[in-house]
C-alpha cells in the first residue's frame, strides 16, 4: 500500500473523529485532487463507513408497519438529541411514503410496499448474521417419527427432527415417537395430549403411550393427575382416559407414587388401574394394546412407501409439463453410470448430466436415489440450450452444513448476460442473481435478491425444499422454503436482462471457465440433492406448494 493511501486513511480517520486540523484537511483534499487511485480508495473507504453506519444505526431502517400504525400517524417523539437527526430524517421519509400509500391504496398496499424495502433494510437479522456467542438451541426432546399424524387444533404441525420445548404436545390421530434428551423414548398414539416438562418428565393428560427407558434414562417420570409413574429401567405402557389411568409393565419394573398410597412397584407382566375415584386395582399386562417399536417401524415404512408412491405418480405427470426446461429426478439409485439422466419427457439424452465426483446415496426415501456433494470438485455438469424469459428453480436438498461463502445449488458456468446463479450464502440466505448487462458496460451487473436467513443448525441433515421464482415481466423474485414464501423483492427494470439462458452449468457447484491451472473458488454444496426442476415460467405460490406437498418425505 502506498504511503499516500496510508496517509489518506489516517487523515480520514481523524476527520471522522473530529480531530483533524485545518492543515490536515487541506492535505487530505490535496491528495484527492492529485491522485486518482487515492480518489477511488477514498470512495471505497467512505462507502464502507456508510455501510457500517447503516449496519449500526437501527434507526436508519424504515420503521416497521407496527410502529407506524395503520393510520400512519407519526410516532410520539421525545425531544431528540442532535445525533438523532438521522433517525428522524429517515423516519420522516418513511412516514411521508407511508401516508401517501395509505391515502392512495390503503393498508394492503402499504404492507406490500414496505415488506420489500424493509427486507433489505431491517437489522433484526443481525443476531443470526453475527453470532457473538456459541450458537444455542432450545428443547428437551426430539420428534423422531411421525406416522399418519393429524394435528389437533391449537397444535402447530411439527416435523421429524424438530426439537420440542416444554409445553403441550397434542395429536388428534396417528403416532408420534418422541425421544427425550435423557434417553427415554415414547410412542404416543392419537388422540393424545401430553405436557412436556423437562428432559426427564412429562404429564400425560390423555391418550395412550408406550415408553422405553434404557438404563441411562432411569428415573424418567410421567405424571397422571396426582400420580407419578417413575421408570426404573424398562418398557411400559400408559393409558389415560376419563375412565382412569392404566399402567402396564412389559419389561423391568416401574414405581408408581401416589399421594394416598405411597409407593408401589409394578413388575413385568403386571398392570395397575387407577379409577377416577382413586381406588387402585391390579391387573395383568396386555402388551398388544400398545403399539410397539417394531410395529411403529412397519407403519413408518408403509407411510414411506405410500409417500414414495404418491411422489412417483406426481413425478410421472410433471415430467411432461411443457414449461420444464430441465428436470432431474435422481431416481436411479442402483445405476453405476456416471450419468444423471434427464427426466424430461419426451426423453432427450442431450440433457443428461455428467456426474463429477459426487456419490450416489439414498434420497428422501430409501428406494430413491440422490447425489451427495462433499468435495470441492463434486458437481453434475449439464448443458441446457435455448433462450427463455421467466425462470423457476425448485429442488429437494439435504444440507449438512453451509461451509462455503457461496454454497451452490445451480449455477451457470461463468456469469454472462442473462445467466442466473442460484446459491445459498453461509449466513443461510438464498442468493439469486441474474446478470443484466454485458461485462463491458460500466453499469452495475445485476441486483442480487436474497431471502432472509432460513438456516438453523437443526435443519442440518433434513430434507428441505427450496425454490426461487424469477418473473422477467415484473422483475419480481420470490424465494420459498418448504412450499412457503420466504420473501419477495423486485429487480428494477434497469437491471433486468431481456432474456435468460443457461448453456453450460453445474448442479451443486460452480465452474469458472478459466485456465487449466488456475485455482477455482470453492463453492460446492455440502449435502445432497435428489430432485431439481427448472421451468421457463414464473410458477405461482400454489404450484410451488404443490411440488412440496407431493414430494415431502
Amino acid at each position: 500500500m502506498s504511503g499516500r493511501i496510508e496517509e489518506l486513511e489516517l487523515l480520514l480517520l481523524a476527520w471522522e473523529d473530529g480531530t483533524l486540523d485545518d492543515d490536515g484537511l487541506e492535505r487530505l483534499r490535496g491528495i484527492l485532487r492529485t491522485d486518482e487511485a487515492a480518489r477511488s480508495h477514498f470512495l471505497q473507504m467512505q462507502m464502507l463507513t456508510a455501510a457500517l453506519r447503516l449496519e449500526g444505526d437501527a434507526g436508519l431502517a424504515l420503521p416497521d408497519v407496527e410502529t407506524l400504525g395503520v393510520d400512519a400517524a407519526p410516532p410520539p417523539r421525545k425531544a431528540p438529541p442532535s445525533r438523532d437527526r438521522a433517525r428522524r430524517a429517515y423516519r420522516l421519509a418513511a412516514i411521508v411514503a407511508g401516508l401517501l400509500v395509505c391515502l392512495l391504496t390503503g393498508r394492503l398496499a402499504w404492507l406490500e410496499l414496505t415488506r420489500e424495502p424493509t427486507a433489505s433494510l431491517t437489522l433484526t437479522g443481525r443476531a443470526v448474521d453475527q453470532p457473538t456467542e456459541e450458537p444455542t438451541s432450545l428443547g428437551i426432546a426430539l420428534v423422531t417419527q411421525l406416522v399418519d399424524v393429524d394435528w389437533g387444533d391449537g397444535q402447530d404441525a411439527v416435523e421429524v427432527g424438530d426439537a420440542l420445548s416444554p409445553g403441550r404436545f397434542a395429536i388428534r390421530s396417528g403416532f408420534a415417537q418422541i425421544e427425550f434428551f435423557c434417553g427415554a423414548t415414547v410412542i404416543l398414539e392419537g388422540p393424545a395430549e401430553i405436557d412436556l416438562e423437562s428432559a426427564m418428565q412429562a404429564t400425560v393428560r390423555n391418550g395412550r403411550l408406550r415408553a422405553h427407558v434404557p438404563p441411562a434414562a432411569r428415573g424418567f417420570a410421567l405424571n397422571v393427575g396426582d400420580m407419578k409413574v417413575v421408570d426404573l429401567g424398562t418398557e411400559f405402557g400408559l393409558s389415560v382416559s376419563p375412565e382412569g389411568a392404566d399402567v402396564q409393565v412389559f419389561d423391568g419394573e416401574v414405581e408408581v407414587q401416589n399421594r394416598t398410597d405411597e409407593r408401589r412397584r409394578v413388575t413385568a407382566g403386571r398392570g395397575l388401574v387407577r379409577k377416577p375415584g382413586g381406588e387402585i386395582e391390579e391387573t395383568a399386562a396386555t402388551a398388544d394394546e400398545f403399539v410397539d417399536f417394531a410395529d411403529l417401524e412397519a407403519r413408518a415404512q408403509n407411510q414411506q412407501d405410500s409417500r414414495y408412491a404418491r411422489w412417483k405418480t406426481w413425478s410421472e405427470s410433471i415430467r411432461s409439463d411443457p414449461r420444464l426446461i430441465a428436470c432431474y429426478m435422481f431416481d436411479e439409485p442402483d445405476s453405476r453410470r456416471r450419468v444423471l439422466e434427464s427426466s424430461l419427457l419426451p426423453t432427450n439424452p442431450e440433457l443428461d448430466g455428467a456426474i463429477v465426483g459426487a456419490r450416489r446415496v439414498p434420497g428422501r426415501w430409501d428406494h430413491k436415489g440422490a447425489l451427495e456433494f462433499k468435495r470441492p470438485g463434486d458437481q453434475v455438469r449439464v448443458q441446457i440450450p435455448g433462450e427463455y424469459g421467466s425462470l423457476t428453480f425448485a429442488c429437494w436438498a439435504r444440507i449438512d452444513s453451509l461451509d462455503r461463502w457461496y454454497n451452490s445449488l445451480f449455477l451457470t458456468d461463468g456469469y454472462e448476460q442473462g445467466e442466473p446463479h442460484w446459491q445459498i450464502l453461509d449466513s443461510g440466505k438464498i442468493h439469486f442473481s441474474i446478470r443484466a448487462h454485458e461485462r463491458k458496460t460500466k453499469e452495475a451487473p445485476h441486483r442480487v435478491i436474497q431471502s432472509p436467513s432460513f438456516w438453523k443448525p437443526a435443519l442440518s441433515g433434513r430434507w428441505i425444499h427450496l425454490a426461487t421464482v424469477f418473473d422477467i415481466e415484473t422483475g419480481r423474485v420470490s424465494h420459498y422454503l418448504n412450499g412457503r414464501v420466504l420473501n419477495r423483492q423486485t429487480i428494477p427494470k434497469t437491471l433486468l436482462p431481456e432474456q435468460t439462458r443457461i448453456g453450460a452449468a453445474a448442479i451443486g457447484n460452480w465452474s469458472m471457465p478459466t485456465k487449466p491451472d488456475a485455482p477455482f473458488a470453492i463453492r460446492n454444496l455440502n449435502g445432497r440433492i435428489d430432485e431439481l426442476l427448472l421451468f421457463s415460467a414464473a410458477l405461482g405460490d400454489d404450484e410451488i406448494r404443490d411440488i412440496y406437498e407431493n414430494g415431502k418425505p
Partner: protein, 173 residues
C-alpha cells in the same frame, strides 16, 4: 401507467434506494447526521419533482443528480462549518461515488460476512466506533488503551475489513 400506480412506483423506488442515496451522500460529506439531513432534503426535492418522474427511466441516476445538487447546496449554505470536501472535489468524485453507491447492498452483505470473521476484540472496536459512535478517545478510555493504539488498531481492522469486502464482492461477480 395511470397516476396512482406511477406514484406508487415512485414511492417504491424512493424507499428502495434510500440506502444507496445515503451511501452516495455520505461518501461526499463524510458525516453521518449531515448525510442523513441531505438525504432527507433530497427526498423532499424528489417528491416535489414527481412530475418529472418517468417510471420507464432509471430512477437512480435522476436521484443521484438531485442528491449531488443538494450536497453542493449544503456546502454553500454552511460556509462557516468545516466540510470534508470542497465543491470542485464533490464534482470530481460524484460520478464514481454514484457507481459505488449502487452496490451498497452487496457491500453490506459482504460486510456482514466479514464482520463475523473478525476477532471478537476487533469487532468490538468497530461496534464501539461505528455502531455506538464513540469517539476514538472514548474508545481508548473504555478499553484502557492509548488513543494512538486505538487509532492504529482501527486503521488495521478497517483495512482488513476493506480487503475482505473487496474479495467477497469480486467473488460475487
Amino acid at each position: 401507467m395511470d397516476q396512482t400506480s406511477s406514484t406508487e412506483d415512485f414511492i417504491r423506488q424512493l424507499a428502495e434506494h434510500q440506502n444507496r442515496l445515503y451511501g452516495y451522500v455520505y461518501s461526499l460529506v463524510g458525516d453521518h447526521s449531515r448525510a442523513a439531513d441531505v438525504v432527507q432534503e433530497t427526498n423532499l426535492v424528489l417528491w416535489r419533482k414527481i412530475g418529472e418522474f418517468d417510471s420507464d427511466k432509471p430512477f437512480l441516476p435522476w436521484a443521484f443528480a438531485i442528491a449531488r445538487f443538494q450536497v453542493l447546496a449544503h456546502l454553500r449554505d454552511r460556509k462557516r462549518e468545516r466540510m470534508l470536501l470542497d465543491e470542485s472535489l464533490v464534482e470530481t468524485l460524484s460520478a464514481e461515488a454514484g457507481q459505488q453507491a449502487t452496490q451498497i447492498d452487496s457491500l453490506r452483505e459482504a460486510l456482514r460476512q466479514c464482520l463475523q470473521r473478525l476477532q471478537p476484540d476487533h469487532r468490538d472496536l468497530i461496534e464501539r466506533r461505528y455502531y455506538r459512535s464513540m469517539s476514538v478517545a472514548d474508545v481508548a478510555n473504555a478499553l484502557d488503551r492509548t488513543v494512538s493504539a486505538v487509532k492504529v488498531a482501527l486503521l488495521r481492522v478497517r483495512r482488513q475489513l476493506a480487503g475482505c469486502v473487496q474479495k467477497r464482492l469480486a467473488a460475487e461477480s
